[in-house]
Symmetry: C2
Subunit: 313 residues, 2 copies
């Protein structure tokens, strides 16, 4: 049998065909065009799915399930997408809506959660019952897998690991709280800290890599640090202190077998993990037992498609 | 059928007989006497269990399972208690050890986790698939129930909600970190804040309730606040700010249907919850969906026995 995974993004609807070995065998995508009626978007999701199945020489009978990963709050139990800030869902029963197009059963989940599921089934945490994926991008996204299932809470809104305050009354966060992990450990947080350091240190090498503050990105401080810039090293050290602080909170709470890091900042890969581990080892709560391994996520954008497909497996 | 629950404490071994309706029908206890060989303690646990069964006119055939809640790190899957700072376990296979005394199957879990399980099956969170219990005592203990199962991680050490840093580089915690939730929201943290405020305000009414600092307890500030003392009100306000901060972190991560508060400080009951709710409602991440209800735990010391019994149900 095959499984369809749909990664519904603000820009594209990416549909993938996944086999029993959890490998992505073919993909097809179409623009999301969020400024239109939600039923039009659902129609495109369904039609792209059916077109991909046909292109691969398969029929609907070859596909066991369709899984959809969507941004926002998702009621996976009932197949309802409650709300997303980018796509015009409003308590939309996507499982029912798909019945107009296909009899293949439909499942759905939050996009960060299904990406974690993808890494836990077929990626960096393959074989682990307990895994977590943290995405260090515009925000800090989280997906938690316990006993191979997504932890989404009773209302579908759980797993918001980024909105854990780690510095009470600290930096303002978009969610309205102050001092959230996301405010420090996202690429956005890193860029803010980089700019602040550059403004205070006009002779930093970072000014060569980013001649104006608008050119600063999540790599600026790491690149300058690797070339020996002391100010950049301080930025990276501070960033790693905050990141490790939140990671250790998550480890103390969940004790996952593997915690994988994805998103833009995690492209630093093992270099970043080598900076984090001494900080984490110093303050681990539980000693004398097996410890969480921190790894770079490996599936990249495919994690969302494969994880969505796994919802129906 | 009946179920045996054993709450193994540093002072007493409390054994309870629980019926199919999850009611505690009889109890029997014996001192733990921790300064002796672990096998002697296990023998007392087993013999007290068998004596209770006999006293109730039952036989081993009437008992489906024995569940043990122990402090420390517990490998519930394999029936092994890995480590406890108070009781001399050392990777002790308690399931195997019990076979010398009875053929009833044995399960085990961390004491805070099984107390949460008790509240989730038969207490303040009865009927909820997703529930959390926080104990505000000497430390801040946590038990997390997801899909009616304990979240203990891959190594049995998960659920350490108290060792989540909420104020980076803040008050020192016994675990070695700085700024843990436990350092502020435990009874110990409240007592520290109470003493600090009393030392700065020699005319506070709190000095009447606790004429020396050694007499300060977790009630001092609440009692004085209720009598109109402004310094005490500031202590309680600060305490509630920290407590609400951590609670909201936990809600954002887990979105449990019910979060129950137990332990000494939670004896303030609804008075405490009424102070917490405006703080939590102000900063909730997810709006327009069902929200976590915060309730006082209701089973008291029985939660540990009933929850342990539920391990085998």
């Amino acid at each position: 049998m095959y499984y369809i995974g749909i990664d519904l993004g603000g820009t594209n609807i990416a549909v993938g065909l996944v086999n029993e070995e959890m490998k992505l065998v073919a993909t097809k995508s179409t623009p999301t065009l969020t400024n239109r009626d939600i039923n039009e978007i659902i129609k495109d999701m369904a039609e792209t799915t059916l077109a991909l199945i046909a292109e691969q020489g398969l029929t609907e009978a070859d596909v066991a399930a369709i899984g959809i990963g969507s941004p926002g709050t998702v009621d996976g139990k009932n197949g309802v997408i409650i709300y997303s800030c980018n796509i015009p869902f409003n308590h939309t029963n996507i499982r029912e809506a798909f019945k107009a197009y296909t009899s293949i059963p439909v499942y759905c989940g939050n996009d960060a959660d299904v990406a974690a599921l993808g890494e836990a089934y077929a990626g960096a945490a393959a074989g682990c019952d307990h895994a977590i994926m943290i995405t260090l991008g515009t925000g800090v996204g989280g997906g938690v897998i316990v006993n191979k299932h997504i932890v989404a809470g009773f209302n579908g809104a759980g797993g918001e690991l980024g909105h854990m305050v780690i510095e009470k009354d600290g930096a303002p966060c978009n969610c309205g709280r102050k001092g959230c992990w996301e405010a420090y450990s996202s690429a956005t947080g890193l860029i803010r800290m980089t700019k602040e350091a550059m403004e205070k240190n006009k002779d930093s090498m970072m000014w060569k890599l980013a001649p104006t503050l608008d050119e600063v990105d999540g790599k600026t401080s790491f690149d300058a640090m690797k070339q020996g810039d002391e100010t950049a090293k301080q930025v990276v050290d501070t960033y790693c202190d905050y990141l490790a602080c939140g990671l250790l909170n998550i480890i103390n709470i969940f004790q996952p077998e593997v915690l994988c890091l994805g998103g833009g900042v995690a492209k630093q890969g093992q270099f970043l993990i080598d900076l984090l581990m001494p900080r984490i080892e110093k303050e681990r709560y539980s000693k004398d037992i097996p410890q969480t391994t921190i790894k770079p996520a490996i599936l990249g954008n495919d994690a969302g498609i494969i994880g969505a497909a796994m919802l129906g497996k």
